[in-house]
């Protein structure tokens, strides 16, 4: 009998010994508990988030769902005296900023991964890999601090030099830059794995045809690693959509209106959730759960869409 069969027999007869049975139950409960949290979170956000739409909110009247999702202003009226909350513009801003930051971090991240995996000499690659890992482990609050201390100033100076008065540097540009810095390590590390797992035979085939190393890298290697690279982008976007404290320190807390102007202040679903946390009751407090619910839905839809695109892209061939 091989060890595996012995072990599987053991797994079955574990019920025989009392201590084993107790242990198994304990461990099973731990596993079930761990698995249940995802439902707990979903349930809480769903229920608490739906309440403002379904109840009277202490006389303020229920919040209109459609208006909530499409409105251009965070709150019409005074706090605690109005139920006219809206996140429409926040949804657009959040998505816009996330994809904007991806447009910066994706090329940089993928090229850095290519560099580390294929171009750089071994010692340099090791150093750079450590640099990327270190960057990945820096907490988001420190990125936010860096953004507030350095990037805001840079954006402000830049805007002054082109004759535009920005609000202390708080802007879409600053937010996108901070998010880009935070997501580059994610994209780089996952893309690097994908690039390194490309079959060497493909590279040799390309070189044997008289292509240069660079042509091989860009036309064959990156194309073959497409799937993994796309996954890194999906994870990067996920991080950008959910980032809260770092973004709130550079965004500017815009209370209404979508803007695509890079130097305008902005706000995201997460920054709105952080504001006004001084209150402990009332609609102004409960509404944060609704915003959280919207955030989860946005993230879910984005993930599903990008995954669907990824499957399509995987089957379509890339032009050489």
């Amino acid at each position: 009998m091989t060890d595996r069969t012995l072990l599987s027999k053991m797994k079955d007869t574990a019920g025989g010994r009392r201590s084993d049975r107790i242990a198994k139950t304990v461990f099973l409960s731990a596993a079930l508990l761990s698995a249940s949290f995802v439902f707990l979170i979903a349930g809480i956000v769903l229920i608490r988030g739906a309440l403002p739409f379904l109840t009277d909110n202490d006389g303020l009247g229920s919040v209109d769902l459609l208006r909530f999702l499409t409105a251009d202003v965070w709150l019409v009226g005074a706090t605690f005296a109005s139920n006219l909350y809206g996140v429409g513009y926040l949804i657009l801003s959040t998505l816009f900023i996330a994809f904007l930051s991806l447009s910066v971090s994706f090329p940089i991240g993928v090229l850095t991964a290519l560099f580390i995996a294929k171009v750089a000499p071994k010692p340099l690659a090791k150093v750079l890999r450590t640099v990327v890992e270190t960057l990945a482990s820096i907490p988001s609050i420190v990125f936010g601090l860096f953004g507030a201390g350095v990037i805001l100033k840079l954006v402000y100076d830049f805007s002054m030099s082109i004759g535009y008065q920005s609000k202390g540097g708080n802007s879409i540009l600053a937010t996108a830059l901070v998010l880009a810095l935070m997501t580059i390590p994610t994209i780089t590390s996952i893309s690097e794995v994908a690039i390194r797992s490309v079959d060497k035979a493909l590279e040799h085939g390309s070189l044997a045809l008289g292509a240069s190393k660079t042509q091989t890298h860009f036309k064959v290697v990156l194309a073959a690693a497409k799937s993994g690279i796309f996954t890194s982008a999906i994870l990067g976007i996920g991080r950008a959509l959910g980032e809260a404290t770092a973004v709130s320190l550079v965004a500017g807390g815009r209370r209404s209106g979508v803007s695509f102007d890079l130097l305008d202040t902005t706000a995201t679903l997460t920054t709105m959730m952080l504001e006004g946390l001084k209150e402990t009751t009332g609609l102004d407090y409960d509404i944060r759960f609704s915003v959280g619910l919207v955030l989860l839905v946005v993230i879910l839809i984005t993930n599903l869409t990008l995954n669907a695109i990824k499957r399509k892209v995987g089957s379509v061939h890339v032009k050489a």
Partner: protein, 257 residues
Amino acid sequence: MKRDENVEGAFRIDGLNLHYGATHALKDVSVEIARNRVTALIGPSGCGKSTFLRTLNRMNDLIPNCRVEGSVYYRENDIYAPGTDVIDLRRRIGMVFQKPNPFPMSVFDNVAYGPRCQGIKDKKTLEDIVMRALRDAALYDEVKDRLRESALSLSGGQQQRLCIARAIAMSPDVILMDEPTSALDPIATAKIEELIVGLRKDYTIVIVTHNMQQAARISDFTAFFLSGELVEYDATDTIFSHPSNPKTEGYITGRFG
């Protein structure tokens, strides 16, 4: 070195020595490869025949710790001389590998890859090149409706012929083949052997094979390698009917290898 016919040489290898780190993989090999003929390289596993093949298009450069001494003359120039344009060399000398390695692209893009890398952009030109290459590789009829489909959807034998077409699209003078049929079934093998014989009139072909019957079937000249040394090189008929070297005879008759 004996030659039955008076054919011009495509390659002249002179005193070639190759080391992988401490291993002396090729020992003082000197031979001439005939133009527009099929030359087979045979010998037991690890004898250096694939290594020798790769010296002809400098693909050994990709292996770390590889040291080459001696000369390989192609068109009057030593391809190991410093300053040689290796990329240009590999355009003139194509290679087909043991396991088919089509790129994850369409059939058309695979064949058009090489020309595109050279800078050819005109759609009509590319189409002409691809058609011609696919026809010459005896693949066109089977894929003409599937040009835009992924190359990975082809069968093993078709993929290998695609790789041959890919190499032909560069209009090389020489095609090097490293055991091109060892991963294929007998029917696909037969098709490719037929293809190789047909290509002979336009290309110089050097093929590594561990299958002696294959060498006997399709090659004009045969080189027998043993432990990194070129033991005997002659016309295929001669090698297989009355070899001069007892070691060659031992291998051919199956006493070893």
